[in-house]
């Protein structure tokens, strides 16, 4: 690897971000190109770590020294000396893999931004936050301890907030009636993202601090991943106070928020208010994967630690929660994606759904760990799907960006007939959609099949080991996953068809009449698209290489020889289910959207049942409305009520009451000052009598 690569791959974008305002003073071109350059350099550093993982040792390319003979390798620096809190980087397959995804896609999307954001005002702020984001994300994945990971976690949340609300100055009318202008709406979307994810972050922080406190009680205070795995006393103490299961569930709260899983999934559709490059980078390829990364990071630790302390039921609970929430979210989001009107919203729901798949896979991995002691199957499925999804989702978003850029509308039903105007974009987006749907031989197919396969294996193994409940759950999860795959194909076809195959809409015709022509994306935008398409097509075939990479340093994992993986996948029992799913999803989609034999609008009008279902899905299962009206609205009303009826009525009045009592007392007492000498003398006499009595009897 290049010298200091683990540190520099995240430090360089952050430094670049800080330098951006200064570079902007020199010139806008300088600023733009140098911002992109920083992210490219970061990717170079991240990529330089890959050969070391394959080799199993870390070699410094500058000096030729072998820095470490074993993976994982960590490098540490003290941050807060007196408390022993450190900063450090951990180089192992998972972190290097994620770092490459983050910086690689980051660099590609930054290049794309040069075209997409060309001519926009406030670009300094854009470049600053984009670079800061890439740096924060890489920091998150390269961190060697929970605290530093949390710092990266919050940084990406901050950049996400700032970038979603990037166009807060827009004066056009707002799409929802609560706000006057689109700018205000955008700002609200940013805030919604931040607050919703913060709820998850709070749970994560509680878990992190609890773990830290218990490591301190065990005599070894640390946040470090490797040390947590090594010294397991903290877990024993947590079990003794009954807090282990709550802590790991709370730990999962962070991923629920950041990765937009149920019940904290409501922020991602609104996050589409930001520029499409932001949606591609943050809300498709990287930040939302941070939760998956965290689960993947802690899963091996939990397996190791809980086995050592003989409390594997915690692993069972944790994995069950992860898998079930993942599966349910996948299903939930896919239903919403089937009826959405805006292209970016379809992609947003699709992202939520696909991340659900990843969580499902990791959860299955954990359950496999509980049943047979080896999580590799599910772990591999989850991370492989992460990679393939990152590529094709970024591809889809960037293509959508090209489409948005040239048609200036977000609503799919205002597009149509773009196939002849934007052929490159069409082909790229088509491949992306098919990969999303899991059509062979694209990468999405291989990664989804692996997940189904893992679920099947779980069910089989569970039954053979006597865990009937887990076995049943395995089959149910598989079933949900397959149904979701059907829906995925449905909405993918729907999306492509409406945008490209359907006849040109009135809106577009109006636009052409005004003289604005629909054109293909500029080269700087379609080159990244083509690159991503190629990766998406051939990526699946790199599965064996990926497997070798990911399991470097793991003990006792069977690494299959290259062709065996493909044969296993193609001939697994789940392949029939997949084909069934394609039929279930593909045939209606074809009739409704591609060949347009049945008009969807008329169909809905004729069939009441489907119309009700459609409306339910369109209103996002009313979850979002519930949160906004009951939780948020209720809370704000509560604060006003407390202010009016407690603070002002009770506490303020109490003060005035005290003051009034004292004043009344004073007024009463004043009456004794008559100014009359005779009364004063009577008082003197009384005083003397009292004193005498005291003297005599006191």
């Amino acid at each position: 690897m290049l010298p200091l690569a683990p540190w520099l791959c995240w430090a360089i974008p952050i430094i670049g971000a800080i330098l951006t305002p200064l570079l902007a003073k020199i010139g806008s071109k300088v600023r733009d190109y140098s911002a992109v350059l920083f992210s490219i350099i970061s990717f170079v550093f991240a990529f330089s770590m890959v050969p070391d993982i394959f080799a199993g040792k870390v070699i410094d390319w500058l000096t030729g020294n072998i820095i470490s003979n074993v993976i994982p390798y960590q490098s540490r620096v003290t941050w807060i000396a007196d408390l022993g809190i450190e900063m450090g980087v951990l180089m192992d397959p998972l972190s290097v893999f994620m770092a490459n995804i983050a910086s690689g896609l980051g660099a590609l999307i930054m290049v794309y931004s040069l075209g997409y954001m060309h001519g926009e005002p406030d670009l300094t702020r854009y470049w600053f936050f984009m670079n800061f984001f890439v740096g924060g994300m890489v920091l998150l994945v390269m961190a060697n301890n929970l605290l530093q990971m949390f710092i990266g976690w919050e940084i990406v949340g901050l950049c996400s907030y700032a970038l979603i609300g990037f166009w807060h100055k827009k004066k056009e009318p707002s799409p929802v009636p609560d706000y006057e202008t689109e700018g205000e709406y955008n700002a609200m979307c940013g805030m919604k993202a931040f607050i919703t994810t913060r709820i998850g972050d709070v749970a994560l922080l509680i878990a992190i601090l609890t773990i830290y406190v218990y490591t301190w009680k065990a005599g070894n205070p640390t946040f470090n991943f490797l040390e947590l795995e090594e010294h397991v006393e903290w877990a024993r103490l947590l079990v003794a106070s009954g807090l282990l299961v709550p802590t790991v569930i709370l730990l999962f709260g962070g991923p629920i928020g950041k990765s937009a899983q149920f019940p904290l999934h409501v922020w991602l559709p609104e996050a589409m208010a930001g520029p499409t490059t932001v949606s591609a980078l943050i809300h498709a390829a990287t930040m939302v994967k941070a939760g998956v990364y965290l689960v993947a990071r802690v899963l091996p630790i939990f397996v190791e630690v809980f086995t050592m302390i003989n409390f594997t039921s915690a692993l069972y609970t944790f994995s069950m929660v992860v898998a079930c929430i993942g599966a349910f979210t996948a299903f939930l989001a896919a239903t919403m994606g089937m009826v959405a009107r805006e292209v970016k919203k379809v992609l947003a729901y699709s992202t939520i759904s696909q991340i659900g798949y990843m969580m499902l896979a990791l959860g299955i991995g954990g359950l496999l760990g509980y049943v047979v002691g080896e999580i590799a199957e599910g772990y591999y499925a989850g991370t492989f799907h992460l990679m393939s999804h990152a590529v094709f989702k970024a591809l889809l978003f960037l293509s959508a960006g090209a489409v948005l850029h040239s048609t200036r509308t977000k609503d799919m039903f205002e597009m149509g007939g773009l196939k002849q105007y934007m052929p490159i974009t069409y082909k790229c987006m088509l491949f992306g959609a098919l990969s999303l749907a899991g059509i062979p031989p694209l990468s999405g197919f291989w990664s989804k099949e692996t997940i189904f396969d893992a679920a099947w294996v779980l069910a089989q193994e569970a039954y053979s080991h006597g865990y009937t409940f887990i076995g049943m759950t395995g089959y149910i999860l598989l079933f949900i996953a397959v149904i979701t795959a059907a829906m995925t194909l449905f909405y993918s076809i729907r999306m492509i068809a409406i945008i490209f195959i359907w006849p040109k809409s009135e809106y577009l015709k109006e636009m052409e009449r005004k003289g604005e022509h629909i054109h293909e994306a500029p080269q700087i935008m379609w080159v990244p698209l083509v690159i991503l398409t190629i990766v998406s097509i051939v990526g699946g075939f790199f599965a064996p290489l990926f497997q070798v990479f990911m399991f470097q340093g793991w003990e006792g994992v069977e690494i299959h020889a290259s062709v065996e993986i493909f044969i296993r996948t193609l001939f697994s029992p789940t392949i029939l289910m997949t084909l069934g799913a394609f039929a279930l999803g593909g045939i209606p989609a074809y009739y409704f959207y591609w060949s347009r034999k049945i008009d969807p609008g008329e169909f809905l009008e004729k069939h009441n049942f489907f119309r009700m279902v459609h409306s339910f899905f369109y209103n996002r299962w009313y979850i979002n409305d519930f949160y906004m009206k009951v939780l948020v609205g209720g809370f704000i009303k509560l604060s006003v009520v407390i202010y009016k009826f407690f603070e002002q009525a009770v506490v303020d009045r109490f003060n005035y009451a005290v003051a009034w009592i004292v004043r009344r007392f004073t007024e009463l007492f004043r009456k004794t000052h008559t100014g009359d000498l005779n009364y004063n003398m009577i008082a003197v006499m009384l005083g003397i009598i009292v004193m005498l009595l005291l003297l005599l009897f006191g």
Partner: protein
């Protein structure tokens, strides 16, 4: 220099009448003179005292003060150690910046020479409270803080009810101070000395009965709780902070209320630690209630300065939580939060002052009428966002470090649910801050604010410097923590022992 601490305080006190006299001739000169006096004090402190403390040396100056017939029973002592140095440094820094800020802000108000003179006495009072080693001296400086601030609010406050509000503030704090006085006298009766760091004090407290100690701690806590605005004694704060002139709000919320926190650490935790920790759970509950109550009420405000005031109440809850947990992490976190809160809350009140200065005393504070100012005042908007994010505890800013230290301290006491509740209340903080930033700065610009622009340099420079500090301490908190953590460790060992 032989006695820098004394010179520092005397410079401020003597500077006051000089500033007044100069001010009669030219108000601008008075403003700059007050800034220079406090800057020189800060310089003396940083150059002569800080390096020694960083090396680990304790810096104590003691002067015999009062006593009949040659014997001294009161000493005037100034103690700069690991605990007080960062706090005093922050106090002087913030007050210097506030003085610089005041020059422009107060430029159209009446009686500026009196304002600047009072400002200097106020600063001297706060610095004296923190450096004091003798309880009587502590009390004197405590009251010395109170009187100039009362006058400053009454004369230059921004509402017609300013005098009433100042009076309410005075009565509340003074009643608290009387409780402190009673506690001081009770301590004297136990130990026959007023000096904190003396043999008799420690022996006397060790020998005292539990009921006496409980009484003393309760009285001290009452006084400090009023100053810290803990629930339910917080009622003086919203009106006071909202209606004080902006630079005074900066100092009030930035450092003066934190003196209560510091005093708890210095007096209660160090010397009455064993009694204090018996009630640790109760104090933690009070702290969390304060945090949540302040946050919820902040959400209900439409006036910008009142929102910041309730936010300050909430932040005091954070600080007290750290102390209530009585662990190294918690105490270090609390003290660091004092420094951090001075930075970001001082900054926010300066921003509120900028809005009032640029837009107007009524419109500039009403959040329903503000909006879209980011385009007009980009520097102010960026600085506000930095301050707001720091207060929310976002890394890599300073608020994150002190908050996570406080929460770690809370968790390590073993009271899981209270600590979890405290962490959850950070969502409320995030809510009202982001809402405030969005309402005031984001959104498209309104025509009413066509001519609004960034404030003049003497107001912007202090704000920029504080924002820079927020970032710096976020990346490198050890600058301050290397003093505070050993101090916290020392206090914790005293409690345990």
């Amino acid at each position: 220099m032989s006695s820098p601490l004394l010179i520092m305080i005397m410079l401020l006190i003597i500077g006051a009448p000089i500033t007044y006299v100069v001010g009669k001739w030219s108000t601008k000169a008075a403003g700059w003179l007050s800034f220079i006096f406090s800057l020189v004090s800060l310089a003396i402190f940083s150059i002569f005292v800080v390096p020694d403390v960083l090396e680990g040396k304790l810096y104590v100056e003691e002067y015999a003060w009062a006593g009949p017939f040659g014997a001294t029973f009161l000493t005037f002592g100034l103690r700069a150690d690991n605990l007080s140095t960062p706090i005093v440094g922050m106090v002087l820094l913030l007050c210097t910046l506030a003085a610089l800020y005041s020059i422009e802000y107060m430029s159209h108000k009446h009686n500026q020479e009196l304002y600047f003179a009072l400002l200097l006495i106020y600063i001297a009072g706060i610095a004296g409270v923190i450096l004091a080693t003798n309880l009587v001296q502590f009390y004197i400086f405590w009251e010395l803080m109170l009187i100039p601030s009362w006058l400053l609010i009454a004369r230059w406050g921004t509402s017609e009810k300013a005098q009433l509000i100042a009076f309410k503030y005075f009565m509340y704090t003074h009643l608290g101070a009387i409780c402190i006085l009673l506690a001081i006298v009770a301590t004297w009766s136990l130990t026959t000395t007023f000096d904190l760091y003396s043999e008799e004090m420690i022996k006397g407290i060790a020998a005292a009965s539990t009921s006496t100690l409980n009484l003393i701690v309760a009285l001290f806590m009452l006084g400090f709780a009023v100053k810290m605005a803990l629930f339910p004694l917080h009622n003086w704060l919203p009106d006071t902070y909202a209606e004080a002139p902006a630079p005074i709000s900066v100092i009030l919320s930035g450092v003066m209320s934190e003196c209560g926190v510091y005093a708890v650490a210095r007096i209660l935790l160090t010397f009455f630690g064993t009694t204090f920790t018996v009630y640790s759970m109760t104090f933690m509950v009070i702290a969390v209630v304060t945090m949540i109550y302040g946050g919820i009420l902040a959400l209900a405000q439409t006036d910008l300065k009142r929102l910041f005031a309730y936010s300050s109440i909430s932040q005091m809850g954070y600080m007290f939580l750290g102390l209530a947990s009585a662990t190294t992490y918690g105490i270090a976190g609390s003290m660091f939060h004092i420094v951090n809160h001075a930075i970001f809350k001082g900054l926010l009140f300066m921003v509120a002052g900028v809005l009032v200065y640029q837009i107007g005393p009524v419109k500039g504070r009403d959040m329903n009428q503000l909006g879209g100012l980011a385009g007009k005042m980009p520097a102010t908007a960026t600085i506000t966002l930095i301050a707001g994010l720091a207060m929310m505890g976002t890394p890599p800013l300073n608020g994150f470090v002190s908050e996570f230290l406080i929460f770690t301290g809370a968790f390590s006491t073993g009271h899981f649910f209270i600590a979890a509740l405290a962490v959850i209340s950070t969502v409320i903080t995030a809510g009202y801050i982001l809402w405030m930033v969005r309402k005031v700065f984001f959104g498209p610009p309104k025509e009413a604010f066509e001519n609004v622009k960034d404030p003049p340099l003497t107001m912007l420079a202090p704000m920029a410097f504080l924002a820079f500090l927020a970032v710096l301490l976020g990346f490198y908190p050890d600058l301050v923590l290397r003093m505070l953590v050993p101090a916290a460790k020392e206090i914790e060992s005293l409690i345990g022992g």
